[in-house]
Amino acid sequence: MSLTDRFKGFYVTLGEFFKPPTTVQYPVERRDKGHRFRGLPVLVTDPHTGEEKCTACGLCATACPNNVITMTSEPHATKGRHPVTYTVQAPRCLFCGLCVEACPVKAIQMSHHFELAATDRNNLLYDKQKLLELGRGIYDEIEQTESGEWVEVTRFPGEVGPNDPEFEQHERQTAARY
């Protein structure tokens, strides 16, 4: 290692020194999570009916390697069947997203909720009500990719899609951050 290399290093440090800090003052300030951030799996509501989309098919529970998800079901007038209870045992979840992949109706999504500390283990059992609460604002949208293909993407609260006017500004801001 030569002496010049060392000065090159100091130069980088000097350059950063005058920029605003990257550190985010969590929990006062929060960083935007990436679109594919994998927080707690939650249940999504159908915007048209206001009910949960889940049909209690049990595939998520079967796909889950840790037996995190359990449910009981009953017949339902429009969907065929629906869950009476639906429980996610958060302490066991390893956020692999296999349940989301398994779901045939996109009723379960990896939310951006990641703060899973509690003073009581029972508070980490998420029942259907809590999961629907956390899933509020998550919806699916059809969008066109650059190659012209139409795909379904999931939107999270606070997140904006490329069709939205604020999109570009949002992108720029995010880019500036990192």
Binding site: G58, T72, E74, P75, G80
Partner: protein, 889 residues
Amino acid sequence: MTQESNVEMVNLEIDGKPVRVPKGTFVFRAAAMAGINIPNFCQYPDLRPFGACRSCMCEIVTRRSNIDISCSTPVSEGMKVFTRSPKVLEAQRFAVEALLVDHPIDCPICDKSGECELQNHAYYTNVRTNNPLARPKNSWEYETLSESVMIKRDRCVLCGRCVRVCDELVGSTALAWANRGNDSYIDAAFGKDLKDSPCVSCGLCIEVCPVGALLNTSYHDTARAWFLKKVKTVCTFCGVGCSMELHVEEETGRIKRIVGTQDTGINNEQLCARGFFGFEFVQRDDRLQAPLVRKDGELVESSWQEALSLVAERLPRYQGDSFAAIAGAHSTNEENYLFGKFVRGVMRSNHIDFDAGMGRGVRPAGLRDVFGSDAPMNGFVDVYENAGCVLLIGSNLSATHPVFTYKLQTAVRRRGSKLIVASPQAVPLSQIATLDIRYREGAEADLLNGLAALIARRELVAHDFLAQRVDGLHEWWQAAQGYTAHGTSANTGVPVEVLEQAAEIYATGGSGVDGRGADGLFPPSAIFYSSALTLRDGGENIDYGAAALALLTGNVGRPGAGVNSLKTANNSQGALDMGCVPFLLPGERPVEDPESRRALQQAWSLPDPLPARPGLGLEGMLDAARSGRVRAMYIMGSNPVEASSNPQRVADALGHLDFLVVQDMFLTQTGRQADVVLPACSWAEKDGTFTSAERRIQRVNKALTNYGQSIPDWTILVHLLERMGFERLYTHSDQILAEIAAVVPSYAGINRRVLERAGNVMTMRPGRVYRNPSLDEIKRLGVQWPTTDADPHGTPVLYADSFPNGKARLVGVPFQAGRLLADGVYRGTIRISLYHQGTGTMTGRCPTLVSLDEGGAADSSPERGRGVGMLRSPNLQQSGYSTGQLTDI
């Protein structure tokens, strides 16, 4: 011993494996025997081949037309078969793709998902195209066909299994194909409502449907197949003793459904409505949660501590003749055995009985006088496979022992067994009977003795058998002579020709007078009736008549024959074997016999000898309670108040008692009279054994955790005995079973391993050579007593070599002209319904069964005679009343 030797065997090769099977076997089954699975829809083990779905294709390279359906192609010598060659896979893939043209593939909301043969098949054949024609799919909505069956027709693959099982195996013919070709669909026969059809809601069509087209209303959308834990057990309702699987959801710990199982018990997947839907009571909210103790005239919840201390403190005061007990006909053998030990050994009383039907106890007279035991001699499978003729008397077995009648109709229609149905009114089986006899109510004894006399006169008797094995022929003839054809006809109201015909069919095993086989014997004939028929006064004469018929014609101790008086509840036979009868000790040994008493005293290590005088029967106990001679009673799993046709009288008698303990799942009318009510477990919550009406001992397995604070009956008794100062005797029901095996001679050598041994395969299946199975082959899961320590595998046919008393003794019933029976004097009524068992304490709490019953489904098509709610009048002594009267319900 097996008759395998006289069956021609064929050698062939499947996928390179050499296979040797009997001639006539279909390639499909030969492959299954070699452990090769071929996808299939319309093939079903008990049905005739059908060949509708073309999905079981295989390649037979030794033939010219080499792609063929394996389910209907019989094997031939030297055949070479491939089941997974490219050609086969291509053909199978085409079959699946064709099915997907209209199939909705709504697996996420389909009950069958996870156990669906279409899913498996598509996976196996690697089909990845949905909707190959890319046209809109035909779709159908859910339709509820009846309280029990739903259909989603667009999922149907038109395999026809449902239509065929309903016709061939159940005999109901309630389903049919409607329309032709592309428009065909499955519907109730004649497009009527399934409710108005002969459907008996047995659920078999739902079980065999390979896809999610036929659906179980009570299971629909409530669980996923792969989350269910499957526990093998035995039905808790009637004496047929069907084996079944309870499907319990692990997450909730609730029973979600019941299914029958292939190749285990005698029922081969068949169940009746009670077995199929009768589990809902287990998880009802009105189950007893905790012990109840009477305080200031009110039953209030209390603790086990308090309740048991109270019982342990009060009971010893009534030791001896002022104590009486009623055992449970639905409790396990272990429980009844322990109960008997408690009553005889600890309470020192012989007043112990159980409800043999309609609130009546076991009667001492009857078959026991003739043979030394009243147990049915031949089993259901044996009769199904071997009987030449079956005579049913005065019982609607279609309601009391349904699955047996389903089997019986298959034997009649498939094997050509002759069936004589003698009944005061039409019963479902009358339809397929060779001879349908209507006699005057209550004339069973006259009819049977008359037929026996006719047979004796016509010299259709088995002389050798009579000479070697029967006593009292001469005395019998003295009495029976009076039964002339005309006299019998006058008494019974049956024309003489019909009597002659019946006598001939029965005596010759349905083969006609020239039908003697090579051994000089006619084919076997069996007699069946419900033992409830003989519970009235004079009922023993029916037993004597039936026994005379069988003995005269040598139809005892051989396969396919026998006198089979079927006990009604699932463990009535077991309760009797365990000695819950006032005059019998465990193992049917008489109480009067000092030797038996001494043996038992020794086995139980009791300091004092057992009481020597036979006790009071159920009715006697209640009378004694009324008169104050019996002052305390202990009732385990029985409900004499509601069982009786005169509930007020029984309740009144119980009211006279000083102390009454009732052990049950629910607070019944009997429980309301009690001083202490102890909550007991249901059959799904305990281990043990049941003995079915055909003497088959089968295991019951615990599937659920105990409800509330309830504990199994035997555990309650163990705790009680502990509190009464005895050491803790047992910690598991298997320990009691071991003691039973040691104490009860006919159960010798029984243990868990013997009972769980795999069942043998039934032979009377299409695609197998029809041949009479040997006795070894008809031993199925479970064991028919008597067993011995050396051979604990049971005896399917009783009395093959000798009778318990050496020889059978014919008992004559003198003829009495104009033994006329009052008609129309029915007072109390108890309905016998396919959808209820006994008092309905259990079945009455199963919503599906109740709605089936109230909807008048099934039981209710007069044209098939199902419709007949049977009315019984158990306490009408004079009428000699038998099976009741037709009413429209």
